[in-house]
Protein backbone atom coordinates (compact mmCIF):
# COMPACT_ATOMS: atom_id res chain seq x y z
CA UNK A 1 0.00 0.00 0.00
CA UNK A 2 1.31 3.45 -0.90
CA UNK A 3 1.77 5.67 2.13
CA UNK A 4 -0.05 9.00 2.00
CA UNK A 5 2.40 11.90 1.60
CA UNK A 6 2.77 14.04 4.72
CA UNK A 7 1.96 17.32 3.02
CA UNK A 8 -1.47 17.14 1.38
CA UNK A 9 -4.17 19.83 1.43
CA UNK A 10 -6.16 17.60 3.81
CA UNK A 11 -3.21 17.26 6.15
CA UNK A 12 -2.43 20.96 6.00
CA UNK A 13 -6.05 21.80 6.92
CA UNK A 14 -5.90 19.45 9.92
CA UNK A 15 -2.45 20.55 11.08
CA UNK A 16 -2.61 21.98 14.64
CA UNK A 17 -0.33 24.85 13.61
CA UNK A 18 -2.60 25.81 10.72
CA UNK A 19 -5.76 25.59 12.84
CA UNK A 20 -4.31 27.76 15.60
CA UNK A 21 -2.81 30.11 13.03
CA UNK A 22 -6.32 30.61 11.65
CA UNK A 23 -7.51 31.50 15.18
CA UNK A 24 -4.65 33.99 15.60
CA UNK A 25 -5.29 35.60 12.22
CA UNK A 26 -9.04 35.74 12.82
CA UNK A 27 -8.46 37.55 16.10
CA UNK A 28 -6.14 40.02 14.33
CA UNK A 29 -8.58 40.50 11.45
CA UNK A 30 -11.46 41.31 13.82
CA UNK A 31 -9.37 44.01 15.50
CA UNK A 32 -8.03 45.61 12.32
CA UNK A 33 -11.33 45.45 10.40
CA UNK A 34 -13.49 46.62 13.29
CA UNK A 35 -10.88 49.22 14.45
CA UNK A 36 -13.08 50.90 17.10
CA UNK A 37 -11.07 54.08 17.55
CA UNK A 38 -13.97 56.31 18.60
CA UNK A 39 -15.25 54.09 21.40
CA UNK A 40 -13.46 54.95 24.64
CA UNK A 41 -13.15 52.87 27.79
CA UNK A 42 -11.56 54.69 30.75
CA UNK A 43 -10.57 57.48 28.29
CA UNK A 44 -8.51 55.05 26.20
CA UNK A 45 -9.60 53.96 22.73
CA UNK A 46 -11.22 50.51 22.77
CA UNK A 47 -8.88 49.40 20.00
CA UNK A 48 -5.93 49.78 22.38
CA UNK A 49 -7.63 47.65 25.05
CA UNK A 50 -8.53 44.98 22.51
CA UNK A 51 -4.91 44.72 21.41
CA UNK A 52 -3.75 44.55 25.03
CA UNK A 53 -6.22 41.73 25.67
CA UNK A 54 -4.57 39.63 22.94
CA UNK A 55 -1.38 39.18 25.02
CA UNK A 56 -2.68 36.34 27.24
CA UNK A 57 -4.51 34.86 24.24
CA UNK A 58 -1.23 34.60 22.29
CA UNK A 59 0.46 32.88 25.22
CA UNK A 60 -2.44 30.47 25.64
CA UNK A 61 -2.48 29.55 21.94
CA UNK A 62 1.26 28.82 22.01
CA UNK A 63 0.93 26.61 25.09
CA UNK A 64 -2.08 24.82 23.62
CA UNK A 65 -0.10 24.08 20.46
CA UNK A 66 2.83 22.64 22.43
CA UNK A 67 0.53 20.26 24.33
CA UNK A 68 -1.43 19.32 21.21
CA UNK A 69 1.70 18.48 19.22
CA UNK A 70 3.20 16.44 22.02
CA UNK A 71 0.00 14.40 22.33
CA UNK A 72 0.05 13.74 18.59
CA UNK A 73 3.68 12.67 18.81
CA UNK A 74 2.93 10.32 21.71
CA UNK A 75 0.11 8.81 19.67
CA UNK A 76 2.46 8.41 16.70
CA UNK A 77 5.04 6.75 18.95
CA UNK A 78 2.50 4.25 20.22
CA UNK A 79 1.78 3.25 16.60
CA UNK A 80 5.44 2.64 15.76
Amino acid sequence: MTQEPYLTPKRIASDPGMILLAVLLLMSAVIFIWWPTEVYVAEVSLVAWLMFATLPVSVFLTGYYVVWMERRESAALSHL
Binding site: T37, S45, M69
Partner: protein, 483 residues
Protein backbone atom coordinates in the same frame (compact mmCIF):
# COMPACT_ATOMS: atom_id res chain seq x y z
CA UNK B 1 27.86 61.09 35.28
CA UNK B 2 25.79 58.85 37.58
CA UNK B 3 28.47 56.94 39.49
CA UNK B 4 26.48 54.02 40.93
CA UNK B 5 24.69 53.31 37.65
CA UNK B 6 27.97 53.58 35.75
CA UNK B 7 29.73 51.07 38.02
CA UNK B 8 26.91 48.54 37.60
CA UNK B 9 26.94 48.92 33.82
CA UNK B 10 30.72 48.58 33.52
CA UNK B 11 30.77 45.51 35.82
CA UNK B 12 27.97 43.99 33.77
CA UNK B 13 29.82 44.60 30.49
CA UNK B 14 32.99 42.99 31.86
CA UNK B 15 31.02 39.95 33.09
CA UNK B 16 29.56 39.39 29.62
CA UNK B 17 33.01 39.52 28.02
CA UNK B 18 34.29 37.00 30.60
CA UNK B 19 31.45 34.68 29.58
CA UNK B 20 32.55 35.03 25.97
CA UNK B 21 36.06 34.01 26.97
CA UNK B 22 34.72 31.06 28.97
CA UNK B 23 32.84 29.65 25.97
CA UNK B 24 35.49 30.52 23.37
CA UNK B 25 37.24 27.14 23.34
CA UNK B 26 34.05 25.09 23.11
CA UNK B 27 32.48 27.39 20.51
CA UNK B 28 35.50 27.45 18.23
CA UNK B 29 35.90 23.66 18.22
CA UNK B 30 33.54 23.20 15.24
CA UNK B 31 31.22 25.10 12.90
CA UNK B 32 28.21 23.39 14.49
CA UNK B 33 29.28 24.57 17.94
CA UNK B 34 30.02 28.10 16.77
CA UNK B 35 26.77 28.78 14.90
CA UNK B 36 24.31 26.37 16.54
CA UNK B 37 25.80 25.63 20.00
CA UNK B 38 26.16 22.01 18.89
CA UNK B 39 22.31 21.83 18.67
CA UNK B 40 22.28 21.00 22.39
CA UNK B 41 20.23 23.89 23.84
CA UNK B 42 17.34 22.82 26.09
CA UNK B 43 13.82 24.27 26.36
CA UNK B 44 14.25 26.74 29.23
CA UNK B 45 17.64 28.10 28.20
CA UNK B 46 16.50 28.24 24.57
CA UNK B 47 13.21 29.90 25.51
CA UNK B 48 14.72 32.68 27.58
CA UNK B 49 17.48 33.19 25.01
CA UNK B 50 14.91 33.36 22.21
CA UNK B 51 12.94 35.94 24.17
CA UNK B 52 16.09 37.96 24.82
CA UNK B 53 17.07 37.82 21.15
CA UNK B 54 13.67 39.07 19.98
CA UNK B 55 13.15 41.58 22.80
CA UNK B 56 15.51 44.21 21.48
CA UNK B 57 16.11 47.80 22.51
CA UNK B 58 13.07 48.49 20.39
CA UNK B 59 10.80 46.31 22.52
CA UNK B 60 11.68 48.22 25.64
CA UNK B 61 13.03 51.68 25.01
CA UNK B 62 11.46 52.12 21.57
CA UNK B 63 7.99 50.85 22.44
CA UNK B 64 7.82 52.96 25.60
CA UNK B 65 9.16 56.06 23.79
CA UNK B 66 6.81 55.46 20.86
CA UNK B 67 3.88 54.94 23.24
CA UNK B 68 4.49 58.22 25.05
CA UNK B 69 4.90 60.17 21.80
CA UNK B 70 2.29 58.49 19.57
CA UNK B 71 -0.20 57.28 22.20
CA UNK B 72 -1.23 54.08 23.95
CA UNK B 73 -2.77 52.52 20.79
CA UNK B 74 0.69 52.68 19.16
CA UNK B 75 2.26 50.91 22.15
CA UNK B 76 -0.55 48.33 22.22
CA UNK B 77 -0.09 47.59 18.51
CA UNK B 78 3.55 46.98 19.24
CA UNK B 79 2.71 44.72 22.19
CA UNK B 80 0.03 42.84 20.25
CA UNK B 81 2.30 42.14 17.27
CA UNK B 82 5.43 41.40 19.31
CA UNK B 83 3.65 38.89 21.56
CA UNK B 84 2.07 37.23 18.53
CA UNK B 85 5.55 36.72 16.99
CA UNK B 86 6.06 33.51 18.97
CA UNK B 87 2.78 31.71 18.23
CA UNK B 88 2.90 32.82 14.60
CA UNK B 89 6.43 31.43 14.23
CA UNK B 90 5.82 28.21 16.08
CA UNK B 91 2.59 27.45 14.18
CA UNK B 92 4.12 28.14 10.81
CA UNK B 93 7.76 27.08 10.77
CA UNK B 94 9.46 26.15 14.07
CA UNK B 95 9.14 22.37 14.00
CA UNK B 96 9.54 22.00 10.25
CA UNK B 97 12.58 24.25 9.94
CA UNK B 98 14.26 22.51 12.87
CA UNK B 99 13.75 19.17 11.10
CA UNK B 100 15.45 20.60 8.01
CA UNK B 101 18.70 20.19 9.95
CA UNK B 102 20.33 23.40 8.72
CA UNK B 103 22.33 26.02 10.63
CA UNK B 104 21.49 29.31 8.94
CA UNK B 105 18.66 30.81 6.91
CA UNK B 106 20.59 30.89 3.62
CA UNK B 107 21.43 27.23 4.26
CA UNK B 108 17.68 26.57 4.45
CA UNK B 109 17.22 28.34 1.11
CA UNK B 110 20.07 26.27 -0.34
CA UNK B 111 18.55 22.98 0.79
CA UNK B 112 15.05 23.94 -0.33
CA UNK B 113 15.67 26.04 -3.46
CA UNK B 114 19.33 25.69 -4.45
CA UNK B 115 22.53 27.74 -4.55
CA UNK B 116 21.36 30.82 -6.46
CA UNK B 117 18.57 31.56 -3.99
CA UNK B 118 20.92 30.89 -1.07
CA UNK B 119 23.44 33.40 -2.44
CA UNK B 120 20.85 36.17 -2.75
CA UNK B 121 19.48 35.28 0.70
CA UNK B 122 22.94 35.50 2.26
CA UNK B 123 23.46 38.99 0.80
CA UNK B 124 20.05 40.13 2.10
CA UNK B 125 20.85 38.69 5.56
CA UNK B 126 24.16 40.54 5.73
CA UNK B 127 22.72 43.92 4.66
CA UNK B 128 19.49 43.69 6.71
CA UNK B 129 21.16 42.51 9.91
CA UNK B 130 23.82 45.20 9.64
CA UNK B 131 21.08 47.85 9.41
CA UNK B 132 19.19 46.15 12.23
CA UNK B 133 22.14 46.69 14.54
CA UNK B 134 21.77 50.47 14.06
CA UNK B 135 18.73 50.98 16.34
CA UNK B 136 20.39 48.76 18.94
CA UNK B 137 23.58 50.79 18.80
CA UNK B 138 21.59 54.04 18.85
CA UNK B 139 19.92 52.93 22.08
CA UNK B 140 23.28 52.00 23.61
CA UNK B 141 24.67 55.41 22.63
CA UNK B 142 21.75 57.21 24.27
CA UNK B 143 22.13 55.22 27.48
CA UNK B 144 25.89 55.66 27.59
CA UNK B 145 25.57 59.38 26.99
CA UNK B 146 22.94 59.74 29.71
CA UNK B 147 24.43 57.47 32.36
CA UNK B 148 28.17 57.59 31.84
CA UNK B 149 28.15 61.24 30.80
CA UNK B 150 30.29 60.49 27.76
CA UNK B 151 29.88 61.54 24.15
CA UNK B 152 27.13 59.67 22.23
CA UNK B 153 29.59 58.37 19.63
CA UNK B 154 32.01 57.12 22.26
CA UNK B 155 29.15 55.30 24.01
CA UNK B 156 28.18 53.60 20.74
CA UNK B 157 31.81 52.53 20.31
CA UNK B 158 32.12 51.23 23.89
CA UNK B 159 28.97 49.10 23.92
CA UNK B 160 29.41 47.99 20.31
CA UNK B 161 32.93 46.77 21.05
CA UNK B 162 31.66 45.02 24.20
CA UNK B 163 29.05 42.80 22.60
CA UNK B 164 31.16 42.21 19.49
CA UNK B 165 33.96 40.87 21.67
CA UNK B 166 31.95 38.26 23.54
CA UNK B 167 29.87 37.26 20.51
CA UNK B 168 32.97 36.84 18.34
CA UNK B 169 34.79 34.82 20.98
CA UNK B 170 32.03 32.55 22.17
CA UNK B 171 29.71 32.18 19.15
CA UNK B 172 26.22 30.74 19.74
CA UNK B 173 27.30 29.16 23.05
CA UNK B 174 28.26 32.50 24.60
CA UNK B 175 25.33 34.28 22.96
CA UNK B 176 22.79 31.78 24.28
CA UNK B 177 24.06 31.79 27.86
CA UNK B 178 24.62 35.57 28.02
CA UNK B 179 21.10 35.91 26.58
CA UNK B 180 19.77 33.64 29.34
CA UNK B 181 21.19 35.98 31.98
CA UNK B 182 20.14 39.07 30.03
CA UNK B 183 16.59 37.78 29.60
CA UNK B 184 16.20 37.13 33.32
CA UNK B 185 17.66 40.55 34.19
CA UNK B 186 15.31 42.21 31.69
CA UNK B 187 12.14 40.64 33.02
CA UNK B 188 13.16 40.91 36.68
CA UNK B 189 14.21 44.52 36.21
CA UNK B 190 11.03 45.58 34.48
CA UNK B 191 8.92 43.79 37.07
CA UNK B 192 10.68 45.87 39.73
CA UNK B 193 10.01 49.18 37.98
CA UNK B 194 6.38 48.24 37.23
CA UNK B 195 5.87 47.41 40.91
CA UNK B 196 7.49 50.70 41.97
CA UNK B 197 5.19 52.63 39.60
CA UNK B 198 2.12 50.72 40.86
CA UNK B 199 2.99 51.46 44.50
CA UNK B 200 3.83 55.12 43.79
CA UNK B 201 0.44 55.76 42.17
CA UNK B 202 -1.53 53.44 44.51
CA UNK B 203 -2.76 51.23 41.67
CA UNK B 204 -3.18 51.22 37.88
CA UNK B 205 -6.45 53.20 37.84
CA UNK B 206 -4.78 56.19 39.51
CA UNK B 207 -1.74 55.77 37.29
CA UNK B 208 -3.92 55.93 34.18
CA UNK B 209 -5.85 58.99 35.34
CA UNK B 210 -2.59 60.75 36.36
CA UNK B 211 -1.17 60.11 32.88
CA UNK B 212 -4.36 61.26 31.11
CA UNK B 213 -4.44 64.41 33.23
CA UNK B 214 -1.05 65.36 31.80
CA UNK B 215 -1.68 64.10 28.25
CA UNK B 216 -5.43 63.85 27.45
CA UNK B 217 -4.61 62.50 23.95
CA UNK B 218 -2.63 59.55 25.31
CA UNK B 219 -5.47 57.08 24.79
CA UNK B 220 -6.27 58.20 21.24
CA UNK B 221 -5.31 56.85 17.83
CA UNK B 222 -2.97 59.51 16.40
CA UNK B 223 -1.69 57.92 13.18
CA UNK B 224 -3.20 56.58 9.99
CA UNK B 225 -4.60 53.02 10.21
CA UNK B 226 -1.90 51.87 7.80
CA UNK B 227 0.88 52.80 10.23
CA UNK B 228 -0.57 50.51 12.90
CA UNK B 229 -1.21 47.72 10.42
CA UNK B 230 2.28 48.10 8.91
CA UNK B 231 3.90 47.87 12.36
CA UNK B 232 1.73 44.86 13.14
CA UNK B 233 2.67 43.04 9.93
CA UNK B 234 6.39 43.74 10.22
CA UNK B 235 6.55 42.50 13.81
CA UNK B 236 4.20 39.56 13.47
CA UNK B 237 6.50 38.05 10.88
CA UNK B 238 9.70 38.86 12.73
CA UNK B 239 10.27 35.35 14.09
CA UNK B 240 9.83 33.89 10.62
CA UNK B 241 11.96 36.32 8.66
CA UNK B 242 14.68 37.43 11.04
CA UNK B 243 17.75 35.25 10.67
CA UNK B 244 18.86 36.18 14.19
CA UNK B 245 15.62 34.72 15.63
CA UNK B 246 15.31 31.76 13.27
CA UNK B 247 18.86 30.63 14.07
CA UNK B 248 17.69 29.96 17.65
CA UNK B 249 15.50 27.21 16.27
CA UNK B 250 18.49 25.52 14.72
CA UNK B 251 20.26 25.45 18.09
CA UNK B 252 17.40 23.56 19.79
CA UNK B 253 17.89 19.88 20.61
CA UNK B 254 14.78 18.88 18.65
CA UNK B 255 11.55 20.21 17.13
CA UNK B 256 9.85 19.51 20.46
CA UNK B 257 12.41 21.62 22.32
CA UNK B 258 12.05 24.38 19.70
CA UNK B 259 8.29 24.50 20.32
CA UNK B 260 8.64 24.51 24.11
CA UNK B 261 11.25 27.26 23.87
CA UNK B 262 8.81 29.39 21.88
CA UNK B 263 6.15 28.89 24.58
CA UNK B 264 8.52 29.99 27.35
CA UNK B 265 9.59 32.99 25.25
CA UNK B 266 5.94 33.98 24.70
CA UNK B 267 5.31 34.08 28.46
CA UNK B 268 8.35 36.31 28.97
CA UNK B 269 7.33 38.57 26.10
CA UNK B 270 3.75 39.07 27.27
CA UNK B 271 5.05 39.84 30.78
CA UNK B 272 7.54 42.40 29.54
CA UNK B 273 4.90 44.32 27.57
CA UNK B 274 2.60 44.32 30.57
CA UNK B 275 5.40 46.01 32.52
CA UNK B 276 5.97 48.31 29.54
CA UNK B 277 2.34 49.46 29.75
CA UNK B 278 3.04 50.81 33.24
CA UNK B 279 6.17 52.55 31.96
CA UNK B 280 4.26 54.30 29.15
CA UNK B 281 1.70 55.63 31.63
CA UNK B 282 4.43 56.68 34.05
CA UNK B 283 6.44 58.30 31.23
CA UNK B 284 3.43 60.26 29.98
CA UNK B 285 2.62 61.29 33.55
CA UNK B 286 6.06 62.87 33.95
CA UNK B 287 5.00 65.46 31.35
CA UNK B 288 8.50 65.97 29.98
CA UNK B 289 8.23 64.22 26.61
CA UNK B 290 8.13 67.55 24.76
CA UNK B 291 11.34 68.72 26.42
CA UNK B 292 13.44 65.73 25.33
CA UNK B 293 15.60 65.75 22.18
CA UNK B 294 14.68 62.11 21.65
CA UNK B 295 11.46 60.64 23.10
CA UNK B 296 13.14 57.23 23.37
CA UNK B 297 14.96 58.73 26.39
CA UNK B 298 11.70 58.72 28.38
CA UNK B 299 12.48 55.14 29.45
CA UNK B 300 15.59 56.31 31.31
CA UNK B 301 13.73 59.25 32.82
CA UNK B 302 11.11 56.89 34.27
CA UNK B 303 13.83 54.71 35.82
CA UNK B 304 15.55 57.71 37.37
CA UNK B 305 12.30 59.13 38.72
CA UNK B 306 10.82 56.01 40.28
CA UNK B 307 13.85 54.07 41.50
CA UNK B 308 16.85 54.66 43.76
CA UNK B 309 20.16 54.96 41.80
CA UNK B 310 21.40 51.43 42.58
CA UNK B 311 18.17 49.82 41.33
CA UNK B 312 18.01 52.18 38.35
CA UNK B 313 21.56 51.06 37.49
CA UNK B 314 20.42 47.42 37.44
CA UNK B 315 17.50 48.40 35.21
CA UNK B 316 19.82 50.21 32.84
CA UNK B 317 21.90 47.06 32.74
CA UNK B 318 18.63 45.31 31.80
CA UNK B 319 18.16 47.72 28.93
CA UNK B 320 21.72 47.20 27.78
CA UNK B 321 20.95 43.47 28.09
CA UNK B 322 18.11 43.89 25.62
CA UNK B 323 20.38 45.69 23.22
CA UNK B 324 23.26 43.27 23.51
CA UNK B 325 21.20 40.11 23.39
CA UNK B 326 19.64 41.19 20.11
CA UNK B 327 22.70 42.76 18.56
CA UNK B 328 24.89 39.72 19.31
CA UNK B 329 22.38 37.45 17.55
CA UNK B 330 22.42 39.81 14.55
CA UNK B 331 26.21 39.76 14.47
CA UNK B 332 26.14 35.97 14.47
CA UNK B 333 23.68 35.96 11.56
CA UNK B 334 25.90 38.33 9.57
CA UNK B 335 29.00 36.32 10.38
CA UNK B 336 27.32 33.06 9.33
CA UNK B 337 25.97 34.74 6.19
CA UNK B 338 29.41 35.75 4.98
CA UNK B 339 31.68 32.94 6.16
CA UNK B 340 29.34 29.94 6.15
CA UNK B 341 26.92 30.76 3.34
CA UNK B 342 28.94 32.92 0.94
CA UNK B 343 32.59 31.91 1.56
CA UNK B 344 32.08 28.20 2.17
CA UNK B 345 28.97 27.92 0.02
CA UNK B 346 30.32 29.65 -3.08
CA UNK B 347 33.98 30.64 -2.87
CA UNK B 348 35.76 27.77 -1.12
CA UNK B 349 33.52 24.76 -0.38
CA UNK B 350 36.54 22.73 0.86
CA UNK B 351 37.57 25.34 3.45
CA UNK B 352 38.62 23.95 6.85
CA UNK B 353 36.21 24.44 9.75
CA UNK B 354 38.72 26.58 11.67
CA UNK B 355 39.22 28.85 8.66
CA UNK B 356 35.47 29.38 8.30
CA UNK B 357 35.05 30.12 12.01
CA UNK B 358 38.01 32.55 12.01
CA UNK B 359 36.61 34.35 8.99
CA UNK B 360 33.31 34.58 10.86
CA UNK B 361 35.06 36.31 13.77
CA UNK B 362 36.70 38.87 11.45
CA UNK B 363 33.35 39.51 9.73
CA UNK B 364 31.73 40.23 13.11
CA UNK B 365 34.19 43.03 13.83
CA UNK B 366 33.77 44.53 10.34
CA UNK B 367 29.95 44.39 10.55
CA UNK B 368 29.97 45.93 14.02
CA UNK B 369 32.18 48.73 12.67
CA UNK B 370 29.77 49.46 9.81
CA UNK B 371 26.79 49.42 12.22
CA UNK B 372 28.57 51.84 14.58
CA UNK B 373 29.38 54.16 11.67
CA UNK B 374 25.70 54.36 10.61
CA UNK B 375 24.53 54.70 14.23
CA UNK B 376 26.81 57.73 14.62
CA UNK B 377 24.00 59.77 13.02
CA UNK B 378 20.83 57.61 13.39
CA UNK B 379 18.22 58.10 10.63
CA UNK B 380 15.09 57.98 12.89
CA UNK B 381 13.32 56.91 16.07
CA UNK B 382 14.35 53.46 17.29
CA UNK B 383 10.88 51.95 16.81
CA UNK B 384 10.66 53.30 13.27
CA UNK B 385 14.12 51.98 12.28
CA UNK B 386 13.17 48.54 13.60
CA UNK B 387 9.91 48.75 11.65
CA UNK B 388 11.82 49.42 8.43
CA UNK B 389 14.15 46.44 8.83
CA UNK B 390 11.27 44.15 9.79
CA UNK B 391 9.32 45.37 6.78
CA UNK B 392 12.26 44.83 4.42
CA UNK B 393 12.82 41.27 5.68
CA UNK B 394 9.12 40.45 5.44
CA UNK B 395 8.98 41.80 1.88
CA UNK B 396 11.92 39.64 0.81
CA UNK B 397 12.00 36.46 2.93
CA UNK B 398 8.48 36.07 4.35
CA UNK B 399 6.70 34.14 1.62
CA UNK B 400 9.68 32.27 0.13
CA UNK B 401 10.37 30.85 3.63
CA UNK B 402 6.79 29.89 4.46
CA UNK B 403 5.84 28.59 1.01
CA UNK B 404 9.05 26.56 0.96
CA UNK B 405 7.69 24.66 3.95
CA UNK B 406 3.98 24.56 3.14
CA UNK B 407 3.83 24.43 -0.65
CA UNK B 408 5.89 21.75 -2.38
CA UNK B 409 5.31 23.38 -5.77
CA UNK B 410 7.34 26.47 -4.76
CA UNK B 411 10.59 26.42 -6.72
CA UNK B 412 13.85 28.35 -7.09
CA UNK B 413 12.75 30.82 -9.82
CA UNK B 414 9.61 31.58 -7.81
CA UNK B 415 11.56 32.15 -4.58
CA UNK B 416 14.10 34.32 -6.37
CA UNK B 417 11.36 36.41 -8.03
CA UNK B 418 9.54 36.77 -4.69
CA UNK B 419 12.67 37.86 -2.84
CA UNK B 420 13.91 40.33 -5.43
CA UNK B 421 10.47 41.65 -6.42
CA UNK B 422 9.40 42.17 -2.80
CA UNK B 423 12.75 43.74 -1.93
CA UNK B 424 12.70 46.15 -4.88
CA UNK B 425 9.07 47.11 -4.17
CA UNK B 426 9.99 47.83 -0.54
CA UNK B 427 12.97 50.02 -1.52
CA UNK B 428 10.88 51.98 -4.04
CA UNK B 429 8.10 52.55 -1.49
CA UNK B 430 10.40 53.52 1.37
CA UNK B 431 12.48 55.89 -0.75
CA UNK B 432 9.46 57.48 -2.46
CA UNK B 433 7.74 58.29 0.84
CA UNK B 434 4.35 57.39 -0.74
CA UNK B 435 2.75 55.84 2.31
CA UNK B 436 2.05 56.22 5.97
CA UNK B 437 5.03 55.59 8.25
CA UNK B 438 6.36 51.97 8.10
CA UNK B 439 3.38 50.83 6.00
CA UNK B 440 5.51 49.64 3.03
CA UNK B 441 5.19 45.86 3.65
CA UNK B 442 1.40 46.12 3.21
CA UNK B 443 2.13 46.46 -0.51
CA UNK B 444 5.61 44.92 -0.90
CA UNK B 445 4.88 41.61 0.89
CA UNK B 446 1.83 40.71 -1.26
CA UNK B 447 3.92 41.53 -4.35
CA UNK B 448 6.49 39.00 -3.08
CA UNK B 449 3.70 36.43 -2.50
CA UNK B 450 2.19 36.86 -5.97
CA UNK B 451 5.59 36.67 -7.68
CA UNK B 452 6.62 33.55 -5.74
CA UNK B 453 3.38 31.75 -6.63
CA UNK B 454 3.02 32.88 -10.26
CA UNK B 455 6.66 32.35 -11.25
CA UNK B 456 6.70 28.94 -9.51
CA UNK B 457 3.61 27.85 -11.45
CA UNK B 458 5.04 29.11 -14.75
CA UNK B 459 8.31 27.21 -14.36
CA UNK B 460 9.28 23.57 -13.76
CA UNK B 461 8.26 22.02 -10.44
CA UNK B 462 10.94 21.06 -7.89
CA UNK B 463 12.50 17.60 -8.19
CA UNK B 464 10.85 14.54 -6.62
CA UNK B 465 13.69 14.48 -4.05
CA UNK B 466 12.97 18.05 -2.98
CA UNK B 467 9.25 17.33 -2.64
CA UNK B 468 9.99 14.21 -0.59
CA UNK B 469 12.33 16.24 1.62
CA UNK B 470 9.59 18.81 2.30
CA UNK B 471 7.26 15.95 3.23
CA UNK B 472 9.80 14.71 5.76
CA UNK B 473 9.95 18.14 7.42
CA UNK B 474 6.30 17.60 8.33
CA UNK B 475 6.83 14.12 9.70
CA UNK B 476 5.84 14.18 13.36
CA UNK B 477 6.73 10.48 13.53
CA UNK B 478 10.39 11.51 13.25
CA UNK B 479 10.03 13.65 16.35
CA UNK B 480 8.22 10.88 18.16
CA UNK B 481 11.13 8.55 17.42
CA UNK B 482 13.59 11.04 18.89
CA UNK B 483 11.58 11.79 22.06
Amino acid sequence: MQVQESIIIVVYLVLMIIMGLYFARRAQSSEDDYWSAGRRINSFVGGVALFAAIASASSLMGAVGGGVELGLPFFMTYAFAATAILPFTVFLISGQIRRAGVRTMPEYFKVRYGRSVAGVAALIVVVAMTFYMVPQLTASGLIGQYVLGIDYGLAVLLFGAGFTLYAALGGMWAITYTDLIQGIIMLGGLAIVATAIWVHHAGPANLLSDALAVDPELGSVTQHWMTYFGIFLAFLWFGVISPSAVMRNFAAKSAKVARRSAFIASIFYAAIFTCGFFMVLAGAGLGIAGELDNTDMIFLQVLEFYLPPIVAGILMAALISAIMSSADAMLLAISAGVSQDLFKGFIRPQAREKTVVRLGIVVMFIAAGVGMWIAWDPPGLIAIMVGWVGGALLSTFGFPVVLGIWWKRANAPGALAGMLGGGIAFIVLVSGDFFALVAEPIIAAPISLVLTVVVSLLTSPPTAETRAMVDLWHSEERDAESV
